[in-house]
């Protein structure tokens, strides 16, 4: 395993795939306001796998959703692949909200895999994978099908390509969902607890697809409770609690020699 240094903050921002700066997220207004993210900084270098750990309600899923604009951030900035997400900064430094079309284009470069798969139930596995390339990229059906066949083979479901999601097991659905996200040739893949909704015996097949993806050099941010996956695949482990990053570093440091009490408590709980 190569030594992965902590990404130097500020230095060589261009090598960073993702750069999250002082991000705050508040849901609701006034008395009902919930402050979920309280100033989060995160850098993910190109080709790097970052695993975010933390108790439920710590804001890790929200952070993920803020990175691809499914949630609008309340403060701070998110830069993905050199592009400021959701806004344009003019010469005077004033922020302008981007048109939804432009935001959609920004999102199309980021793949996302959900806890509950969210496959389109009225489309077969293959049609699910073809949908975005045809509808968003304007790819011909033939070309999209060609690519979809490659991807479904990559996740090992060629014999299930004409099945509807309801006819697939959870693990198979999640593998189709991964293939669907990959069909857009994303520069970055976000995984939001991809194995949490699966029966224990189905977790392995999904993790192995993710592991292969990591080996192929994909930049990935993974929210998970699978400590084993984090130890084996992650270049970088981030521990979050109560809307802030408590501790981060290579897995050997964070998982085996945690410095913070909160991290130790959490790891004692899940291990």
């Amino acid at each position: 395993m190569s030594v992965v240094a902590d990404s130097p903050a500020g230095a060589a921002g261009s090598t960073d795939m993702v750069s999250v700066r002082a991000v705050h997220k508040v849901f609701g207004h006034g008395h009902d306001a919930v402050h979920v993210l309280k100033g989060v900084d995160l850098d993910v270098a190109r080709g790097e796998v970052t695993v975010i750990l933390g108790p439920s309600g710590s804001g890790k899923s929200t952070l993920l959703r803020c990175i691809n604009e499914l949630e609008e951030i309340t403060g701070g900035s998110v830069v993905v692949g050199g592009d400021l997400m959701g806004y344009r900064k003019d010469a005077k430094g004033t922020l302008h909200r981007l048109h939804p079309k432009v935001v959609a284009r920004q999102r199309s470069r980021i793949g996302m895999v959900f806890q509950r798969f969210h496959l389109f139930p009225h489309m077969t596995a293959l049609e699910n994978i073809m949908e975005a390339p045809v509808q968003v990229r304007g790819l011909s059906k033939k070309a999209a099908k060609q690519r979809a066949l490659e991807l479904i083979e990559r996740v090992g479901l060629t014999d299930r390509m004409d099945h509807y999601p309801a006819q697939l097991s959870g693990g198979q659905q999640q593998r189709v969902a991964i293939a669907r996200a990959l069909a857009m040739d994303p520069e970055l893949m976000l995984f939001d607890e991809p194995t949490s909704a699966l029966d224990p015996e189905l977790v392995g097949e999904v993790l192995s697809v993710m592991q292969d993806l990591a080996k192929s050099g994909m930049t990935m941010i993974v929210v998970t409770h699978e400590i084993g996956f984090a130890r084996e695949v992650a270049d970088h482990v981030v521990f979050m609690d109560d809307g802030v990053i408590v501790e981060s570093g290579p897995p050997s440091a964070v998982l085996d020699n945690p410095q913070e009490q909160r991290t130790r408590d959490f790891l004692a709980h899940v291990l």
């Binding site: 199309s108 139930p121 968003v136």
Partner: protein, 329 residues
């Protein structure tokens, strides 16, 4: 499903796999027999009251049932029903989408439309459509408050038929819009999120992802609305449009001083068409409701579940089918 029946047949032909099958007497239900007798007697009384009463003039009913004017009335009624429903459905989807729009102007316009057309009686609306040419004898196209490009006599363009069709459609759209909205709301928000995450734009998400799944909820009450519309067409006499079934029959009745048998004719025709529509609705509901709550796995056959796309949506459970969301006038 077919696999299950096949298995049952197989076991029936061979030895009984349950050696100690229970052979018990059913619970006695004397109430059922009593109820059946009461219902039979009441039905016989009703039939007797209808047949033996000469005021119904069944000979006249039979004579005029297939009268050319009556048949023409049936045709016009059907044209109005289906014509206005088609226009109403297109408008309703537009209104429902506007209602969910990010644009407050769109939301407000949709809300106001539904408020107005649901809030005033259809009969009144139709009278006003009939008065259109009185209120506005000439209509023109041009720049608002500016010059006109051309103008025409209202009567020349908006005949009673078109006004009837438009009047019915505009009113119906308000009700259907709420049905469509209920359908759109019933689709799992995760579906929209997944589509967004793939970079799909709102319009595409609606057309490709949300609407196809909302159909499960939208179609059954829309069948209901169609049956309701069939009889609502009788109100276009308010315009007046006088060719449809109800007016055609009552006109004959008034001319012959035999209103009752002609009313019976109208009722019989409405019943017949409704029955046909109900058969259609039954099959539509079966199609859209098939496989609900069950995951049909037919691995051996390869292609899709028994019900195709709709069964797949049903089995996935991404649509929350809640009959309390049905909107009926």
């Amino acid at each position: 499903m077919s696999d299950v029946t096949a298995q049952t047949h197989a076991s029936a032909s061979g030895k009984d796999p349950v050696p100690n099958r229970i052979q018990a007497r059913p619970v006695p239900r004397p109430g059922r027999i009593v109820a059946a007798v009461i219902v039979l007697v009441l039905a016989a009384m009703a039939a007797n009251a209808l047949i033996t009463n000469d005021a119904f003039r069944w000979d006249v009913v039979w004579l005029y049932l297939r009268d050319i004017v009556v048949i023409r009335g049936v045709m016009w009624t059907l044209i109005l029903t289906f014509g206005s429903m088609v226009v109403a459905i297109v408008l309703a989807v537009t209104l429902a989408v506007m209602r969910r729009s990010d644009n407050p102007v769109m939301r407000w316009v949709s809300w106001a439309y539904i408020w107005f057309f649901r809030g005033t009686p259809i009969y009144t609306q139709l009278i006003f459509w009939g008065l259109l040419s009185v209120l506005y004898p000439r209509l023109s196209l041009g720049i608002p408050f500016g010059p006109e490009f051309f103008s025409f006599r209202t009567d020349d363009v908006f005949t009673a038929f078109w006004l009837a069709l438009i009047g019915l459609a505009l009113n119906e759209a308000a009700y259907l819009a709420e049905i469509v909205r209920a359908g759109l709301t019933s689709v799992d928000p995760g579906q929209t999120e997944a589509a967004k995450a793939l970079g799909m734009k709102d319009g595409k998400i609606m057309r490709r992802v949300v609407l196809p799944q909302a159909m499960r909820v939208i179609v059954p009450p829309t069948g209901n609305e169609t049956i309701s519309m069939l009889k609502t067409t009788s109100l276009v006499v308010a315009l007046p449009f006088t060719y449809e079934l109800m007016y055609a029959t009552s006109a004959i009745g008034n001319r012959n001083f035999l209103p009752v048998p002609l009313l019976v004719i109208a009722a019989l025709w409405y019943l017949l068409i409704t029955s046909i529509l109900m058969v259609g609705q039954h099959y539509l509901e079966q199609y859209y409701g098939r496989g609900f709550g069950t995951t049909t796995r037919r691995r051996g056959r390869g292609k899709g579940p028994a019900g195709g796309k709709q069964a797949a949506i049903a089995a996935a459970g991404t649509v929350n089918v809640d009959i309390t969301k049905e909107v009926t006038p």
